[in-house]
């Protein structure tokens, strides 16, 4: 990719506004950390309410912030006034999601007129460093 092309000069504002409208993200406590052309980073402070049976963050929650990070990375390259639709994603869980914080970083691999493909890494921040705990491959389209 020879540099991502930004088509919506208000993309940061529009993505922040879209993020803020998502009740499910508020529910889990996700925060928009950074948006650049073709990139989005989402943070999730880890609290007890997000746990599954092993005391780690539930895989579905990991998938949720991964999906969101990839989707907004895609939306950063959309035309103005287009929302994001996730067509599909695939997630592999590599390590338990535990520690103080999860950080999901999505990057656009291919930005197309109809289809955008992203790759997302989700890292768990622990006291002794951070650890790759999930990877996603995702397909999006403008909604």
């Amino acid at each position: 990719m020879s540099g991502p092309v930004v088509r919506n000069s208000a993309y940061r504002h529009d993505i922040a506004a879209s993020f803020a409208r998502q009740g499910a993200l508020k529910l889990i406590g996700a925060e928009l950390d950074a948006v650049e052309p073709g990139l989005c980073r989402v943070r999730l402070p880890i609290t007890d309410k997000l746990h599954q049976h092993h005391g780690h963050v539930h895989g579905g929650v990991v998938g949720m912030i991964g999906d969101v990070a990839g989707g907004y990375a895609a939306m950063s390259l959309f035309e103005p006034a287009r929302e994001i639709l996730t067509v599909e994603y695939k997630i592999n869980f590599l390590a338990p999601a535990r520690g103080t914080m999860l950080v999901a970083e999505g990057r656009v691999l291919r930005a197309g007129r109809s289809i955008t493909v992203t790759a997302v890494e989700v890292r768990a921040v622990e006291e002794d460093g951070d650890r790759l705990c999930a990877v996603l491959q995702q397909t999006c389209m403008p909604g």
Copy 2:
């Protein structure tokens, strides 16, 4: 598959206990609806707090109940005292997740010693019937 083989006679009890320990499922309001050998059904009453920007249930939440339904379908055929680990899943979103309730039904396609593969359908119950809104293909293992 010539009839699924149950190895843990207390599988229903163990799955219900595991489900109850998952804070993330309580957070979204998911309920365990049915467990049979090689099958699990999870219900999610739809409330405002689960919405994304279009007013439908967030895809990550859809993925979460799909993951859980597939995982417990797999666990129903595990040896006693084994928990469920999701290795990976892939989800396609087919229609908006809206209405009064989501129902995720997972079925075991292949139960192996180390690897179990499931297929999950998530349906949205609306006034005029129900609609297939997502499908998952999932790989699990005993944890």
Copy 3:
């Protein structure tokens, strides 16, 4: 799905012509078995040249006929004069692909204007019956 809608009355002819142009399918010996609205079945007689290191059909070949069966199932519901593009697929291998023949059957789960989603089952025909050896979940679009 309340009955698939056929938009191209010549879909069978067009799919057969497209299939015949695919050198890679000739190379492995795949045959178009059946095409119905929203469905396609592809057969592959098993020969030595398709084997991997265990003497079974190589997973990549299994994926190839699965991809083709899903893609032509999708194309059966396209407008006239549109070819098929695979956006992505995910395949789980459930059992060794061995015996006399592989049969891949693709079905459309959702036919959309831009995106079509299919599910594919690949079965291995052996002397004592047939066995599900792989499942795919696939996303296509008109090309």
Copy 4:
């Protein structure tokens, strides 16, 4: 990953021997280009026989070399005398696979006792440079 751990000092020999036994790889003309700990690169000179209906390399063939590159990357970190089994993979097609050569490079993301996860990039080498044409996310296990 703090440096991949090699458990089989003969991994290069064993992978080359395994590769050579795969009739399907000979059929399409794939070549083993490089094997390092946790990495494998496979080349495929592009010929007419590999084409699909658009004159590009068939997606199934792209998937095949991607699957192989990921699988042997995984096998490079296995114990001695273990073959590779692909549990599943997911592939996104990003650009047409055309030019003179395809190069698939697989890297291990997580090497586990039972499950290994890889990421694969497939690039098409054209006169004016090379282009990312597909990405895979794959799960393997020792066979």
